[in-house]
């Protein structure tokens, strides 16, 4: 049974990854999960300087999922390179670094710093965080802006570039094509969907930021649909995510056209979810006699 997949020339032992922002840099989950079993660890977004993030409350529970408005709190690229990368290097897994910024130059600065770090296999560019005012999602909701920042980043990146797309758009296929044409090596989707919760007894917003990003099983059908539409629109590989809780969910994304999958909010529900997902994929492959996992990618039919 072969669970290997290759994205933009990078080979992963299996398609199970972690969704940026839900797994830190792996440290917190290393006591629950054998990181060596994961296809890749996708880190929490890192910026050129430390970001304090949003005021609290930053998270709220909703039906079948959660809202978050962390605001990309991160220690900045210096500490990240000194502490997080050496930690992750100890494990036999691929490292994908999620990059965030407010201006194109912010992104480029981080991308260039990471270019000197051979342990970093790929870069994931976060142009879809709904919780920060400038930058981020502004680039992710307009095809021209997306293609502009993608070109600029590709001009400076030494590693293959994954553009992480926002689901808060009218036409995900159009955004996917824009990123592909601008040179993106791969796409990841979906980021969270902008949502809101109100405490009806206090008559206040549940989040200090008013709105937050919705994640969890509640959004899975939207994510599967968008992965399917994006996969039919572009030739570059797609990393699918959105409410994945087990192997069956992961296989659904693969069948829809994803080459790999990321586990996000469900890490908070069971810290062992990434391994549960991997075990479930392998069980499915055995049960259905699937020799190569690549045979599942985009294999859904009418």
């Amino acid at each position: 049974m072969n669970t290997q997949i290759t994205i933009a020339g990078v080979t992963f032992k299996n398609p199970v990854m972690t969704a940026s922002g839900t797994f830190g840099s792996g440290m917190e989950y290393a006591e629950f999960v054998d990181l060596n079993r994961l296809g890749a660890v996708v880190t929490k977004g890192v910026a050129n300087v430390p970001w304090p993030g949003n005021p609290t409350p930053r998270v709220a529970e909703v039906y079948g999922g959660m809202l978050n408005a962390i605001g990309l709190q991160n220690p900045g690229i210096d500490v990240f390179l000194e502490r997080d990368i050496p930690f992750l290097k100890q494990f036999d897994t691929k490292i994908i670094v999620n990059v965030c910024g407010r201006t194109v130059q912010d992104y480029v600065d981080v991308v260039e710093r990471l270019g000197d770090e051979p342990a970093v296999a790929m870069l994931e560019i976060n142009v879809s965080c709904p919780n920060v005012k400038e930058g981020a999602i502004a680039f992710g909701q307009n095809a021209d802006a997306l293609s502009g920042i993608t070109r600029e980043i590709k001009r400076h990146a030494r590693q293959p570039v994954i553009m992480k797309l926002s689901p808060n758009v009218t036409d995900i296929a159009k955004m996917a094509k824009a990123a592909e044409e601008a040179g993106a090596d791969a796409l990841s989707l979906i980021n969270t969907i902008t949502g809101m919760k109100i405490d009806i007894h206090k008559r206040k917003f549940a989040l200090a930021n008013r709105t937050g990003g919705l994640s969890g099983p509640a959004i899975k059908p939207i994510a599967v649909r968008m992965v399917y539409q994006a996969a039919r629109a572009v030739k570059i590989p797609i990393i699918g995510m959105g409410g994945i809780a087990n192997g069956e969910d992961a296989v659904e994304f693969l069948l829809a056209g994803a080459s790999a999958v990321s586990v996000g909010a469900m890490n908070f529900v069971d810290p062992c979810t990434t391994e549960v997902v991997l075990d479930g994929i392998e069980y499915y492959m055995r049960r259905h006699d699937v020799e190569n996992i690549s045979d599942l990618i985009g294999a859904v039919e009418d």
Binding site: G53, P57, V59, N68, P75, A265
Partner: protein, 262 residues
């Protein structure tokens, strides 16, 4: 590897209006637990996915069972209140112990003051049990309806003073009114309760020039320090986050009052 474990519900009874006393027995022996640590309790209700962070009230001698005293605050704790031993709902899934807990060594041999407000009282029990020091324990309740829960338990380990907002029991007013009225002198404070109380405790400790260790609450998601959902502003740049933020779930929930900006 650590993981979530299933725990059998041994006792689950209402000890005050909407306040429940639950003893659970995890399938495997518990690791060493520090007073002030908490557990994440997962629910059967699939619309409520996140763990409920609940402070550990007490652990039995051989560490095979632990006690949590919780208030019904929403659908999740309501579901917990319906658990009955020996039926289809007779067990819970838990993660923990989580967080750091109260620093026992700081208080050893000193005159300590333990302050608890409302549903912040439970973690003081294991603290009082384990703390080798002179202990004055002040607990505050809303009114006579809730007044008294855990009071007898605490009395085994120190002198208990009660305050109620409506004056129905003990000192009329809040916990600090009781401290002042009883002229309690201490070298160090441990406290857990609502934020207004903790702010008052912090101010009181500064006024007296003594250290205070306070247990904080915030909306949590992962409970293990990964999501950065539950942070508190810190006066110094925090070593882990590299910003003026500390994670309540892992760097806390107990902080020295002077470290945090509350």
């Amino acid at each position: 590897m650590k993981r979530r474990v299933s725990a059998e519900v041994i006792i689950n009874r209402e000890i005050a209006p909407a306040i429940y006393d639950m003893w659970i027995q995890p399938v495997q022996k518990l690791p060493e637990i520090n007073p002030g640590q908490f557990i994440g309790v997962f629910l059967k209700d699939k619309s409520l996915l996140l763990p409920r962070p609940l402070s550990i009230c007490e652990v039995n001698a051989d560490r095979t069972a632990l006690r949590i005293v919780y208030r019904i605050a929403g659908a999740g704790t309501h579901e917990m209140s319906l658990r009955r031993p020996n039926d289809g709902l007779g067990y819970v899934t838990v993660l923990g112990p989580l967080g750091n807990g109260f620093p026992l060594e700081k208080g050893e041999g000193k005159r300590t003051l333990l302050i608890g407000g409302g549903i912040g009282i439970p973690p003081l029990l294991e603290l009082a049990k384990r703390l080798k020091a002179e202990k004055q324990i002040v607990v505050g309740y809303q009114n006579c309806n809730t007044a008294g829960f855990l009071q007898r338990d605490l009395a085994q380990y120190g002198t208990v003073h009660v305050a109620t907002e409506d004056g129905s029991v003990g000192t009329k007013g809040n916990v600090l009114d009781a401290v002042r009225q009883k002229r309690i002198e201490a070298d160090l404070i441990y406290a857990c309760g609502p934020m207004p109380m903790l702010r008052a405790v912090k101010a009181y400790a500064q006024e007296k020039g003594i250290p205070a260790y306070i247990s904080l609450e915030e909306r949590m998601a992962c409970g293990v320090g990964a999501c950065l959902g539950c942070v508190v502003k810190t006066n110094q740049v925090h070593h882990h986050t590299n910003v003026n933020n500390a994670r309540i779930c892992t760097d806390g929930p107990v902080f020295e009052a002077d470290e945090v900006d509350i």
